[in-house]
């Protein structure tokens, strides 16, 4: 009996996991192959690839896929690059460094929905108010544009901007601590050799912190592929009509919101999303194995 005491401690966690993680995982695959499943009658009339076929031919899904891919391709490199630059700049100052770090971290602890509304207000153009961003654009001699309900590129821009703003804190923090953990000995050695500071950064610092950079790229990809609440914050819940839906948004709209009640389609879409994320993660890991330097 004593041999099984460990299970007793594990039991609560196992119970939760079994009901809310393992069972649903299996179930979602089953759903995705059940054709014409109806929540109301809990019945279906066939098994096959129909759900996938439907989803892949759904223009909303294509739109969501395009949006998500654009978001990923734009925000991941930009946010990682900016974060690296800022983390690097932070190492060059001593005064006020911890104040800056605290400020930069603030977006991490804010409610995505709530602050997204502030962005919406900043970028929105209404008949009554031009909005802060458009005022700035006018000052610079530009043409004001409604970023929230205007042209696609403007909406995409503000979505990317907000996403970057929201993910930067985590990246800056990770990179700052990675930079801080580089042994100053290397810098001293390079300086003695007369290396320029840009060369030191490229040839010494960057390789040494490359594991952190790759970690951020991988988690960044995964995170951006799962973007949803930032889009909701900016454009509201009716994302399909806005043309600004993301893949996760598509899954939930299929499941529940207006036009919802199709768990089979939602499952198929979720599995497609997961497959894409998994593929990209594996590619990322393979690339990072090749280029990452571990000390």
């Amino acid at each position: 009996m004593k041999k099984y005491k460990g299970f007793l401690y594990l039991l609560p966690a196992l119970a939760f996991l079994a009901v809310f993680l393992i069972y649903p995982l299996i179930d979602v695959f089953i759903y995705s192959f059940e054709e014409g499943y109806s929540s109301a009658s809990q019945s279906y009339f066939g098994i096959g690839w129909y759900n996938y076929d439907y989803v892949l031919h759904d223009p909303y899904f294509t739109q969501a896929l395009v949006n998500t891919v654009l978001l990923v391709v734009i925000t991941v490199p930009l946010s990682t690059g900016f974060s690296l630059a800022i983390a690097f700049l932070l190492t060059r100052i001593e005064k006020l460094r911890s104040l800056f770090q605290t400020i930069y971290f603030l977006p991490y602890v804010t409610n995505t929905l709530a602050v997204g509304m502030v962005f919406m207000v900043l970028f929105k153009q209404t008949p009554y108010s031009e909005g802060v961003v458009n005022t700035l654009i006018s000052w610079c001699g530009g043409e004001p544009v409604d970023f929230i309900e205007g042209p696609y590129w403007a909406k995409m821009f503000v979505l990317c901007f907000y996403t970057i703003w929201i993910v930067m804190p985590f990246k800056i923090l990770i990179l700052t601590s990675a930079l801080a953990s580089v042994n100053p000995m290397y810098y001293a050695a390079a300086k003695v050799d007369g290396t320029s500071s840009w060369r030191i950064f490229r040839k010494i610092t960057l390789p040494l912190i490359s594991p952190s950079v790759f970690y951020l790229v991988i988690t960044g990809f995964i995170g951006a592929f799962k973007a949803y609440s930032d889009a909701v914050a900016l454009f509201g819940t009716n994302l399909n009509a806005n043309g600004m839906n993301t893949m996760v948004g598509y899954v939930f709209d299929m499941l529940y919101r207006d036009g919802g009640g199709y768990p089979s389609y939602a499952s198929a879409a979720a599995i497609l999303l997961f497959a894409i994320v998994l593929t990209i993660t594996v590619i990322n890991l393979m690339v990072s194995k090749k280029y990452t330097h571990y000390s």
Partner: protein, 274 residues
């Protein structure tokens, strides 16, 4: 090196402004009078006559107080349950021996890869079938487990030297007592870390609550704010909206400022958002 200093400062300050400006704007707007705000075609960067009427409005027109209370209950119970369950599981993995342990642990690690989005579909069905929509139970239960936090705790527990465990056995202590009197106090930083990360996660959670509650009585702040955005004050009352945003943002920011060091080092140790 020295000649670059002004540029360094310029960029750092620029980003600090980019981060702080939305916060400034939200506070500023929240204290502008409704009429004054709507009269500004070109927004002004400050106000001479701050008012708290928007805050009163935010609490009276919609049930903001209830949303905050709901979120508080949801956060406290979910976090407490999660911490308790995770501590037990981490202890079993780190300290106890039982048949199939390494196999089960490998399974656990594999589960870390599963995105919550994938399992939410079935969880939605499960909760609906159990008739738990619009209940706290339905909100809390699927949010309790976190494989990642169990993993984080286990790694920390495993660092406690074996000799302490043996010493406690010799001292006549049971496993249960050893866990709570020695292990948990010694790993307090990690326990605090996962608690804080979970609190942030709970406070900001949106997708699951939005699926499982459509009765405003059970709205959390995220849904509440979304509700306000869609219909609450009518679209035009931006100052009242901003007041609500301030109210729901403040608790986490205060928490962050108090536990700044722990939160930041906790996030470095392996937290990811959401």
């Amino acid at each position: 090196m020295k000649k670059y200093k002004p540029i360094t400062w310029f960029f750092l300050i620029m980003w600090a402004i980019a981060v702080l400006f939305p916060f400034y704007w939200m506070v500023l707007t929240s204290v502008k009078e409704y009429a004054a705000y709507n009269a500004e075609y070109i927004p002004t960067l400050f106000t001479t006559s701050p008012t708290i009427e928007n805050y009163i409005y935010a609490f009276t027109e919609v049930d903001l107080g209830r949303y905050i209370w709901n979120t508080l209950i949801f956060t406290v119970i979910t976090t407490a349950l999660m911490v308790f369950v995770s501590i037990l599981a981490a202890f079993a993995f780190a300290r106890l021996d039982f048949p199939g342990k390494s196999l089960i642990f490998t399974g656990f690690l594999a589960l870390m890869m599963i995105p919550t989005e994938l399992v939410m579909i079935t969880n939605f069905q499960t909760i609906t079938e159990l008739d738990l929509r619009n209940t706290f139970l339905g909100l809390i239960l699927p949010s309790v487990t976190s494989v990642f936090y169990i993993y984080l705790l286990r790694e920390n527990f495993a660092q406690i030297p074996d000799s302490l465990y043996y010493a406690a056995k010799i001292d006549g202590s049971s496993d249960w007592k050893f866990l709570w009197r020695v292990m948990v106090p010694m790993c307090r930083p990690t326990v605090v870390t996962i608690t804080i990360l979970k609190v942030i996660e709970c406070w900001n959670s949106y997708i699951w609550p939005s699926l499982i509650t459509d009765d405003p009585k059970y709205y959390l702040v995220s849904n509440g704010i979304q509700q306000i955005r869609e219909s609450g004050f009518g679209r035009a009352n931006i100052p009242a909206m901003m007041a609500a945003v301030v109210v729901i943002s403040v608790p986490l920011i205060v928490l962050f400022l108090i536990y700044r060091k722990q939160i930041m080092s906790g996030v470095v140790r392996g937290g990811t958002k959401g």
